[in-house]
Amino acid sequence: MRTSRRTIAAALAGVATIALVTTGCATGGGESSGGTTTLTLATFNDFGYTDELLAEFTAETGIEVVHNKAATSNDARANYFQKLGKSGLADVEAVEIDWFTEAMQYADLLAPVPDDLKGRWLDWKEASATDADGNLIAYGTDIGPQGICYRGDLFAAAGLPTDRTEVAALFDGDWDNFFTIGADYTAKTGKPFIDSANSVLQGIVNQLEFAYEEPDGAIIATENPDIEAAYKAVVEKAVPIAAYAGQWSEDWFASMASGEFAAMLCPGWMLGVISGNAPDITGWDIADAFPGGGGNWGGSYLTVPANGANVEAAQKLADWLTSPETQLKAFTNAGTFPSQVEALASSELAAATNEYFNNAPTGEILTSRAEAITVATFKGPKYFQFHDALQNAVTRVFDGLEDETTSWNTWVTEVSAF
């Protein structure tokens, strides 16, 4: 047979493809090379872990760190569960609170946090990362204490106070107080008061002790009177004063940029979202108040997969990254509000201000908001599904697809099948 050049090329291509496929499955990271250990760290969005910060760790310990950043938390989630318990995860993996409960189901596959670190984080932050056997399985990074962001100029036009202490006093009260103020504003101006109805639902549900599931696995979603009350309140009082049903839509961003609504529920990380998407709007400010007490929205953890190659070194890295000192640096880098008790008491945090928000003392306000948080909602493994379906129920009412009762019943039927 005459072997033409093309045949050789084809054969080479075939071999190369097979080589690619097989090596693609090989595990990465955790290799020791030349005596120094190299660790891999996987995060998403922006944790504030800059190359300079990681270089400090290398200088201290001699351990090299390779940082892999996923674009979104959803990508990180897919990657995490596809590889957990098998191989291919980084030595230290970041987990977002939204899917943290799913990860808690596999607590036995994660290396626990050493006992001497207990007490570093806020009680409720530690409590939600503790498994049934009392092991703390994740290192807390940031939290999302919520205040109320408001537009001083729009408030003035509607005859409401504009000074942030006066506004805080105005909102000091329960959710009904908040809805009344919103209804007055909408009646006076004919404009929406808050950005979205579902952010209110999020705010209320994050103040409940139990939402849809109980720690023993019992499902209480449809019988929980608190949930029904939250739904009723949102549908009857938040929908009429909200600009949109949910956040993050094309319209929602456009509306933020054009300054359509006057107030938002504001976790620390939302400040960056507002200033980033509405650079031309002036008048945003933040008040040290939240309806019905404190509320947390969001925040992340670091975990160490137990079957990694360098578990001990990885624990050292996670320990170092979540230490109060490092977290404060991360806060300066990316605005991730610390969950460590010591960091919360630091003067550096207290001195932080935000120019876009009328030079508000954001460090001080958010610290006060973090102290007001008393409850960490128990979120079972199906929390995301239940909550998403309930948000859809609110959206259906908002869009006029179904009325209040029908939409609730649809939700009940839907979640009964889970």
Partner: protein, 328 residues
Amino acid sequence: MSTASPKPVRVLSFSQKVGRWDLKFSPYLYISPFFVMFAIVGLFPIGYTAFISFMDWDLVRNSGTFVGFDQYIWILQQPHFWTALRNTFSIFLISTVPQLLLAVFIAAMLDRNIRAKTFWRMGVLLPFVIAPVAVGLIFNVVFADNFGLVNGVLTDLGLTPIPWHKDPFWSHVAIATMVNYRWTGYNTLILLAAMQAVNREYYEAATVDGAGLFRQFTAITLPSLRPTLIFVIITATIGGLQIFDEPRVFDQFGRGGAGQQWLTITLYLYDIGWGQWNFGRAAAMAWILFIIILAIGLLNLFITRSLVRDEGRRGDRVGRRTRKEVAR
């Protein structure tokens, strides 16, 4: 043993044996690469999906408990599943019908003697090379409810804005528009190829007989296009039943809307698998989709056959040649 009829024992040398093996087995060896690859990348995943569909599967621990047909029953009992089925067919109809009409029209235009032929022909294919997700992002700006391009124009004209993300029908129209944007050009080129294969003498004869352009189109072009159209319809059906990217990027959540207005079957499958990590149900869903596509494929085959027979009776040589073109 000793009583058995004495049959002379043939002793084969080793090289003879090898020669026999060569004759017997090497043909199988030569064709085996395809079958080995097909077993690995084709049959195994299908079989493994069937296996998982009978289990309550834990992806992380890679284990499950056998539950029989429970997952299939669960899927068929979900109202979401039937809504998804309705949406899939609705989007398929709203996209395919106008798309093919438009494709035939554009192909007929391009088939005529126009200037810069290649430019126009490449031009119609241009949207096809844009990634569907990019198309989705562009059209999201067009179809936003309050700040969208279309609704902006409608409000300026004093008309009521269209509830793109609320009403099922309008959401299907919006998604179908994205599909049409991408696929019209592709189908145009296939139909154009078929039109070019039509013998020009027919048109000359028709012109001599005094037939107008429209008459020529309906009496010559369309009948010759029939087999090509069948091919295009079949590929469009398969693509339509698997529609995913466009509805996925239609809103910020990608789960088909609050009232499942634009939830399609593949979107639902993805949500069960990668949103809820329930691979048992997702696998059952995949098999149900497989069976649906198979059923519609058979229906298509049946219709195609009867149409082709019909054509044979009319002795349409042109059509057959076009069919060959397409088969290539």
